[in-house]
């Protein structure tokens, strides 16, 4: 005959009581999550994005390294084509597409021709680029500027306004810091200071660069030595979003109202900071490469302080 007591000493009644509390915890957690998601959806960009077209929508691709040959990706043109097709399949026409550098692998004229030709396949009214260090291997970025520098200033930097957002494209790959990282230089810093001076502090600002504008991993040159000066001109703005390439992996950092988002690549992955002696291309097991590659969709809705980012793996 059952006594109602298990071998551990807990009565059935106690077991039921504890089970009830556990059930309540689960139910409350799920319900709480639903409520928070609903509130976030009704006040944030998510619902607005569903109900109305965002003020600005664009896509970011990065580090296509056209011309690369190696086991890490035996067909960088193939994966770049897939990335372009994925942008074209977003379900809307992006206001523009930004390529955040290392379009080519060795800055060869044929590689610039090829990548420029491939970019014309993007279904968007505007394509913007910033150069990577691979785009200025032997000529200080001259071939890059011939291919993509129309309408830019200085060594290829620029700014423009679109849908109430101020966008700045920077070049931090022409001279290097002591650690091999990015450098902007005084001319470009002057440009930034004068460029943003007339803007009101509630203007959303987006900054594109190849090297990160924060010290992601200085030992590998993953940073920009004079970025602090550039950022000092931007700190008064309520929303500053810095998008960069170079590191071939997703990484996010916030400093007050400034948010940094590194992008993944369409070519090959690099190791995480500090994994190994140097950032060399990583060869993944068969079938895993596409998980490390991708594109980014960015939306901005007027009145929102932050941009909505949606990462997509290469499908």
């Amino acid at each position: 005959m059952s006594t109602g007591r298990d071998p551990q000493g807990m009565t059935r009644r106690q077991l039921m009581v504890h089970s009830a509390w556990f059930g309540a915890a689960v139910v409350l957690t799920v319900a709480g999550g639903e409520v928070i998601s609903h509130v976030a959806g009704s006040t944030g960009a998510a619902q607005a994005a569903q109900r109305a077209r965002p003020t600005l929508r664009f896509a970011q691709i990065s580090d296509s390294h056209i011309g690369f040959t190696g086991t890490a990706n035996t067909s960088v043109t193939g994966t770049f084509t897939e990335a372009i097709n994925q942008v074209n399949g977003l379900g809307f026409t992006p206001d523009f597409v930004i390529h955040t550098g290392d379009l080519t692998h060795l800055s060869k004229p044929a590689q610039f021709d090829q990548v420029k030709q491939m970019l014309t396949g993007l279904n968007t009214p505007h394509i913007f680029t910033v150069p990577g260090e691979h785009d200025s291997v032997d000529d200080g970025g001259q071939k890059y500027r011939q291919a993509f520098g129309a309408g830019t200033r200085g060594d290829g930097w620029y700014s423009f306004d679109i849908a109430g957002v101020h966008v700045i494209g920077l070049v931090n790959t022409l001279s290097f810091s002591k650690m091999g990282g990015g450098h902007l230089g005084t001319d470009q810093l002057d440009f930034i200071e004068k460029d943003v001076a007339p803007l009101s502090s509630d203007t959303p600002v987006i900054v594109f660069s190849h090297f990160p504008l924060f010290a992601m991993y200085p030992d590998w040159g993953w940073g920009t030595d004079d970025a602090t000066q550039a950022l000092s001109y931007l700190r008064r703005f309520s929303s500053v979003t810095c998008l960069n390439g170079h590191v071939h992996q997703l990484f996010t950092k916030t400093e007050g109202n400034i948010t940094f988002h590194t992008a993944t690549t369409t070519a090959y992955p690099l190791p995480h900071p500090g994994d190994g002696p140097a950032p060399k291309p990583v060869t993944l097991p068969a079938g895993k490469l596409h998980d490390a590659l991708g594109i980014r969709e960015v939306s901005y809705i007027k009145g929102q302080q932050t941009l909505a980012l949606k990462e997509q793996k290469l499908s």
Partner: protein
């Protein structure tokens, strides 16, 4: 001399009653303290999730889970739930503090932040979680010493 035994037998029950009442009030205060600090941390994470963190890959989801779990634990602890709910709150708070430390050092799921940003949310949340851990620890030590005494 019959008064002495009478005094001896009448005095201890009075002390025991007041001591029990004090213990009960103490336990209630600790329980409310744990519930409050859990809820504060949960509400702060919910606020941050709603105001931008939802868009940060992985971290957004983590904030949503943290907020809903902490708020649920806060409500159930306040409602007089069993001790394991308080322990769960303590363990979750330790995990939240560890995640905070990682986000300020080596990064967490590719996410890093500097110092006490966003202010004052980060500082308030950390204080709440440290208090949760302290109160849960005190509660556990108290119940252990009572068990040992009996």
């Amino acid at each position: 001399m019959t008064s002495t035994p009478t005094n001896i037998t009448s005095s201890p029950p009075t002390t025991a009653v007041s001591s029990t009442a004090a213990n009960r009030a103490g336990r209630l205060a600790v329980r409310i303290g744990i519930a409050s600090t859990l809820a504060i941390s949960g509400v702060i994470h919910a606020y941050l999730y709603i105001h931008g963190y939802q868009y940060i890959p992985t971290i957004g989801t983590a904030f949503l889970v943290q907020a809903s779990v902490f708020c649920a634990l806060g409500v159930l602890v306040a409602a007089g739930g069993p001790a394991w709910l308080r322990w769960a709150g303590g363990v979750a708070s330790v995990a939240a503090l560890a995640a905070f430390a990682l986000s300020r050092t080596v990064g967490l799921f590719g996410f890093t932040e500097r110092g006490w940003q966003p202010s004052p949310h980060a500082a308030v949340s950390v204080i709440a979680e440290v208090l949760t851990v302290a109160l849960v620890t005190a509660s556990m030590l108290n119940s252990r010493s009572k068990t040992a005494a009996t």
